[in-house]
Symmetry: C2
Subunit: 281 residues, 2 copies
């Protein structure tokens, strides 16, 4: 049996599947877990790969550490989405963290992750507070601001479509402390049909935040193997000397758990090929 995900006409990914472990049409989306032949278990939402056990480290290290190390000492962190638990796991590796709210709209994602991806989440950690709510509504009512907000939603279709809107990012800005930083996943630059969404999103970030930049990572099971992320802040820049010093020290301490992110990657991820620059400029 083969799983197929097409991203450009009939071009895409094909993955050998041994068994369907979980399949549920929730009120929000279709959540499935497959046992693959070489990637361990793999989670998909509406037919799009979210993660496999073998490659999830790239996405989770890159959506978390680039922003977390940019902030001087993040105590309170908000994750919008992130139901598989991998983003919270990486956040919780930072010793300054005291409180993490993870707002996932769909409890089925967490249920599937806890059963079939036991190494991905750190759900028993007492600092982690999982809420099954609409993250977009949650953000409108934040009273105690966050140091870092991570937008770990799915693609800009279905319940995640508002995660690409101006209103959503204005609420993020309000919910951030003065030295606050956000990171978000922002699709594959190789997928032409997402270029308008990517362009609009970075225009919104430019208009809303003092600093906004795109960065990239190699994710083998995502469309074309290239994925983009946004970092935005009220002033901190990811290349500030203090940030680079924190990254150097922090990655040394964290070295035993890091498989992708390191201090060279922190800088290099912000270098954009010409065709990617052209999408957002």
């Amino acid at each position: 049996m083969q799983f197929n995900e097409y991203y450009n006409g009939r071009t895409g990914l094909t993955v050998g599947i041994k068994e369907i472990l979980f399949s549920e049409q929730t009120p929000y989306q279709k959540v499935e877990v497959f046992k693959t032949d070489t990637w361990g278990n793999m989670l998909t939402i509406d037919g799009m790969v979210m993660l496999s056990e073998m490659d999830e480290f790239v996405y989770h290290e890159m959506i978390v550490h680039v922003g977390m190390f940019s902030h001087p000492a993040p105590r309170r962190v908000l994750i919008i989405g992130g139901g598989d638990g991998g983003t919270a796991r990486e956040v919780l590796r930072h010793p300054s963290v005291e409180h993490v709210d993870m707002v996932e709209i769909d409890e089925a994602v967490v249920r599937a992750a806890r059963q079939f991806f036991p190494e991905v989440g750190d759900f028993e950690n007492p600092k982690l507070h999982v809420r099954y709510e609409d993250g977009i509504r949650f953000l409108e009512n934040v009273t105690d601001p966050y140091d870092v907000i991570i937008i770990d939603g799915s693609d800009p279709v279905g319940p995640a479509v508002e995660l690409f809107s101006e209103r959503f990012y204005k609420n993020c800005y309000k919910a951030l402390t003065p030295s606050g930083v956000i990171t978000a996943q922002t699709e594959s630059p190789w997928v032409a049909s997402y270029h308008p969404d990517i362009k609009n999103l970075f225009q919104v970030l430019d208009a809303t935040f003092e600093v906004s930049e795109m960065y990239l990572a190699y994710i083998p099971l995502y469309p074309a193997g290239m994925w983009s992320f946004a970092l935005a802040s009220k002033g901190i820049r990811p290349h500030d000397p203090e940030v680079l010093q924190r990254v150097e020290q922090g990655t040394t301490k964290m070295a035993s758990t890091l498989q992708y992110y390191n201090s060279e990657i922190h800088r290099a991820a912000f270098a954009l090929p010409g065709f990617v620059r052209d999408i957002i400029r």
Copy 2:
């Protein structure tokens, strides 16, 4: 109709095909050209994608410019393989170049490229000398050395297997001028079955050259979307201040033709994720 290339069990790429334009079993390999639904024409060798019209700029800019700008003024350039012509085209954009030898073992590749990829090659350029010979033997008899040698061969199977050997790289070293630089394609770090070849190759380069480094690029139709390259030299380092200055000036002059490579990419490409460092260290 779908073209499939598997790289990890039954995981791989699937591409929608409209028509088979060329298919020939040569004395060396099976050469095919497909008309795809969204990537233009696509060349494969023994079932492995070599390039499409839409994505070839990444591979060709990255295998050429990183090394060519590292050399102060490359006049004589040797390309081993490179039958589609894209590597020679990018080499010939450098104004210092006077003479390019392209040594391609299989004339069928050049024939297919001239017919079905007219934008890729620059075969009428009087500086370009195409020889249909075994590049490995050719290298053993070089009397007039080269400033830059580019190893643009296929994967380490079939006629390209010796392109990963110590003897081959010792001959490269001998065929280089004192400020000489080589670049080579060195497979996808996401493909576990190639790790021994990649590791051996970098050990050979370390033992043979004064400088050797791996760099990376995002290539959507190659396995997992991540491709590695080697740069090796008799002393020049790709991060030397003079090199970075040449890159800055050269990419500005060449800006209208560059879709991937730029001065930030030149530096960033050498940053390796942890799991990639682990393959070669």
